[in-house]
């Protein structure tokens, strides 16, 4: 991948120019789907865009010193990491990529969550600290399953290159991994039943409590970009291999949309779990599947 294609992927498709409207669209789809399932009409189509513009026009409280600077930096790091993760997705066939880009994608997907933890602690608000502690506990529980699932997929296909993973024929083991990733997504995107870090009416807004104006707009945007990147990862792993570029892009967008709908249905149908129940869920119930997936992947690799 040379510099031009890398820049084009980061800035145009599937990078910023595509990802930012897609982030707003997915945020709207989630809110609208939840509203429809609750028998409401829900927000208008442009709502996340209006929210974003309005937040850009609001004033921010003055912050001084190192912690003030850090508080301004975290949302920007989160947005750039999420945008970079979207840019790495191999949407178009033969779009390049390099050996090990799956590892970079996982790191970039994890950065927004680390930024949220750091932001909550640097805001020095008691609610922010509780939210950050919850986010950290949540991250430690779902990431084990998430990473084991991805490693099992990569090990069964003998590659850490995203495009090669998307192109290879799928096996039952592959689908087990995709299901394990899907189970982790509600926790990664902080939606019900794992909306613990930003638990509204419980700890105010968690790590975001002290944020206002353009900084909050950046957090909303990074949340939307996380939606695009996480659903895009599932779409990449689940999509059939296609050579026509427009069909591949269409299938990618359609699959991402289906994943958003599925997650919204889960969010609308469930209530928030307590932190100990959540940690137990990931460590006791889903870890078994992840260990099964990775051990059978390694077993098959040794046999072949």
């Amino acid at each position: 991948m040379n510099l031009t294609t890398a820049l084009a992927r980061l800035l145009i498709f599937p990078g910023l120019l595509f990802a930012v409207p897609a982030a707003w669209f997915f945020l709207w789809v989630e809110r609208k789907a939840v509203a429809l399932m609750q028998g409401r009409i829900g927000p208008p189509f442009m709502q996340p865009f209006y929210d974003f513009i309005k937040l850009l026009g609001k004033s921010t409280p003055p912050r001084s010193g190192v912690s003030g600077l850090l508080m301004k930096m975290w949302p920007l790091i989160a947005v750039s990491a999420a945008a970079g993760a979207v840019g790495l997705l191999p949407v178009l066939p033969s779009s390049g990529g390099f050996e090990g880009d799956l590892i970079l994608l996982l790191a970039l997907l994890e950065l927004p969550s680390i930024c949220i933890i750091a932001a909550g602690f640097s805001s020095r608000s008691i609610f922010g600290e509780i939210g950050s502690a919850r986010e950290a506990a949540l991250s430690v529980s779902y990431n084990v399953v998430f990473l084991l699932a991805i490693v099992s997929i990569a090990a069964s296909q003998h590659t850490f290159r995203l495009e090669a993973l998307a192109g290879l024929p799928t096996s039952p083991l592959h689908w087990l991994g995709v299901v394990a990733i899907l189970v982790c997504l509600p926790a990664k995107l902080h939606i019900n039943p794992f909306s613990l870090p930003n638990a509204e009416q419980e700890i105010y807004s968690g790590p975001m409590t002290e944020y206002a104006g353009p900084e909050l707009a950046m957090w909303e945007l990074s949340h939307g970009l996380e939606w695009v990147a996480a659903t895009g990862l599932v779409a990449t792993l689940a999509a059939p291999h296609l050579t026509l570029w427009w069909l591949a892009a269409l299938v990618f967008v359609g699959l991402s949309f289906a994943v958003v709908l599925l997650l919204s249905a889960v969010a609308a149908a469930t209530a928030r779990l307590a932190i100990d129940t959540t940690v137990r869920f990931y460590w006791q119930c889903t870890l078994i599947f992840a260990v099964l997936a990775i051990s059978s992947a390694l077993f098959m690799r040794i046999r072949s």
Binding site: A35, G39, D51, I53, K54, Y204, G206, T209
Partner: protein, 182 residues
């Protein structure tokens, strides 16, 4: 006004985020504010979102007759709401202290302490009246931010049964509203 300012004004009108605060209310108005977000009234159609932190909010919704203990927290929260902002006084209590008038535990109506933009009368007001008040407050907020003009407080008309046609409703609307009562 250039394009960006017009877009900003439009977005402010379409995206009012609320922060709800109780100033010694009996909980009647608080329940009605929550009811305006439920499937029957669905304020989210107007972009309304109930926020957990005053820093995120545009509109401060205050209920209750403002007790002595509530004055300082209300002033603090008002300062924490980032501008441009608006205040909606929900119910008759923050406007006039209602039936609690002359009580020695009260620090008087809300507009003695912070500037109020919209009064929504009623004991308690109906959820549709609250939604109307919030929409009006969002309009005031957007206009004030665009033109930098002080805007006089607005008293919303009573809505629903007993309004005497003040809200411009017809007899058919009122019979429908009566049927809606359990």
């Amino acid at each position: 006004m250039n394009l960006w300012n017009r877009l900003m004004c439009y977005s402010r009108r379409r995206s009012p985020w609320l922060f709800h605060m109780n100033g010694g209310s009996c909980n009647g108005c608080d329940i009605e504010l929550i009811a305006s977000l439920t499937p029957r009234y669905d304020a989210e159609q107007l972009g309304v979102r109930l926020e957990g932190s005053p820093r995120h909010a545009d509109i401060l919704c205050i209920t209750g007759p403002i007790t002595h203990n509530a004055v300082n927290p209300i002033k603090t929260v008002y300062d924490q709401v980032c501008g441009p902002k608006a205040v909606v006084a929900i119910g008759s209590c923050p406007a006039t202290t209602n039936v609690f008038i002359d009580s020695r535990t009260l620090a008087g109506p809300l507009n003695l302490h912070i500037p109020v933009d919209v009064f929504v009368p009623g004991c308690p007001p109906r959820p549709d009246a609250i939604i109307q008040g919030v929409a009006k407050a969002a309009e005031i907020l957007a206009e004030r931010a665009a033109k930098k003009l002080p805007v006089e407080p607005v008293v919303m008309p009573l809505v629903g049964p007993g309004c005497g046609g003040a809200c411009g409703c017809t007899a058919a609307d009122k019979s429908g509203a009566k049927e809606a009562q359990p």
